[in-house]
């Protein structure tokens, strides 16, 4: 039983405290930023809304080589 406790503590230590482990470093996968920016569907909807609300930012008068 004692050994199980030691192993349990070691596993918990690895999960929580060692930098770079999967449990810690990918916590942001649950953020709204990540959820939306990795979904083409959500981005298409959002960019369509933006396009409706905002006029073109580039002048049509530009001509020639820069």
């Amino acid at each position: 039983m004692k050994y199980f406790k030691v192993i349990g503590v070691a596993v918990a230590f690895c999960l929580v405290l060692i930098p770079g482990n999967t449990f810690l470093c990918h916590a942001y996968e649950d953020t709204q930023c990540f959820q939306c920016h990795t979904s083409a569907k959500k981005l298409i909807e959002a960019t369509r809304e933006i396009a409706k609300a905002r006029p073109a930012l580039k002048s049509a008068e530009t001509s020639g080589e820069g």
Partner: protein
């Protein structure tokens, strides 16, 4: 370069979590905003699109401290030579200079780069968009980054896009920009340069072609005879793009625009305006740049009242190098061939004074040769 749809520009590849160096950094740590807000409109309040410009210290500096140290002096960030050249042509009148400053902020200052605009996204000046789902690119891709900005001259020359002209031999050898223009050159070395041609770790042809002056080298005689007299480009570049008369302004919606009067492919040898230890040659290739006395007239008249202090035909290093060119086909393909040299008759009347130091007087054109190297 393929254009990106609006959603493609901001689509993040979920593989970013596997990036052992950057995968641990949450979006909001660099970009700000509210990561818990499900409404994208309010979640983006305070978001910084490019957290690496104008200062990359917070976003990149902790790990890339050596590169970040010189960041502000990298010419791709500072645009210093660009500003100095316009300053030199500008009027000394303070009111005019202030108005010119506004115009430059609107039109010229946008053409910078940054850590993010080379390693993560296309540059803003070509409307941005992630290179590969926000995955960090150690080497920026040539066509989406380098030639996205350096397009009308370098891209067309390098890829052989001008009708009747060949791509650079270096392109045919599958060399990308970074083969000559290293990261060290791009990132700067902490020195303030007056001109991009002064950059100490910029490329030189002899960095690779070390053998050309050695006795056993092919064409050694020709190379030795022309050493310090003509730049490599004089013999080895093809005709290249030139532009004239750029004018800037704002349209009825207040959007900035530019217009250039014309562009043409030409090849002109002139006197070296930037003679130095690094570039001692008497003859170099010259390119007409699109500056004009009236470039900034929309904002302020006579802004460039000292226009004649610098040539409009500038030292050029065209990127369409070939071993064999029309002008090096024989000695007399160049010697005595007036059409290759920038003569007074080739220059517009209102630019003669500005170019007086680069024009080749007819008596300086190398005479026809009877002797031919074996």
């Amino acid at each position: 370069m393929e254009p990106l749809a609006p959603h493609e520009k901001i689509f993040v590849d979920s593989d970013i979590v596997d990036d052992e160096n950057h995968g641990e950094i949450a979006c909001h740590e660099c970009h700000g905003g509210n990561p818990d807000d499900p409404n994208w409109n309010t979640a983006h309040k305070g978001v910084v699109k490019d957290p690496t410009y104008p200062d990359a210290t917070t976003a990149c500096g902790d790990c890339h401290d050596e590169i970040n140290e010189n960041y502000q002096k990298s010419l791709h960030v500072s645009l210093r030579p660009y500003k100095l050249i316009i300053d030199e042509r500008a009027s000394s009148n303070t009111v005019i200079r202030n108005k010119l400053g506004c115009a430059m902020n609107t039109h010229c200052s946008e053409c910078h780069s940054s850590c993010g605009q080379c390693h993560i996204s296309r540059p803003n000046s070509v409307e941005g968009g992630f290179l590969d789902g926000h995955l960090f690119q150690k080497k920026p891709p040539m066509q989406e980054v380098c030639t996205a900005c350096h397009g009308s001259r370098i891209q067309k020359e390098y890829l052989g896009e001008h009708e009747g002209l060949l791509p650079s031999i270096h392109k045919e050898k599958n060399m990308k920009c970074d083969k000559c223009h290293t990261g060290e050159e791009m990132h700067g070395n902490g020195k303030d340069y007056v001109h991009r041609y002064d950059v100490e770790n910029g490329p030189k042809c002899v960095d690779c072609h070390k053998e050309i002056y050695k006795r056993e080298a092919k064409n050694v005689i020709t190379h030795r005879i022309h050493k310090d007299k003509a730049s490599c480009h004089v013999c080895h570049s093809q005709p290249y793009n030139n532009c004239s008369a750029c004018h800037v302004g704002k349209d009825k919606q207040g959007l900035a625009f530019f217009k250039t009067k014309s562009s043409w492919v030409d090849f002109k040898i002139g006197l070296n305006p930037l003679k130095s230890e690094k570039r001692p040659e008497k003859f170099v290739t010259l390119r007409h740049v699109p500056v004009d006395k009236r470039t900034f007239d929309f904002y302020v008249k006579d802004a460039l009242s000292n226009f004649d202090t610098l040539p409009t035909w500038k030292l050029a290093t065209p990127h369409n190098i070939r071993l064999k060119t029309t002008q090096n086909a024989s000695c007399n393909a160049c010697h005595g061939n007036e059409s290759l040299f920038l003569l007074e008759k080739d220059v517009e009347n209102n630019e003669k004074k500005a170019n007086k130091n680069v024009l080749v007087p007819v008596n300086l054109i190398p005479k026809k040769q009877k002797w031919q190297p074996k």
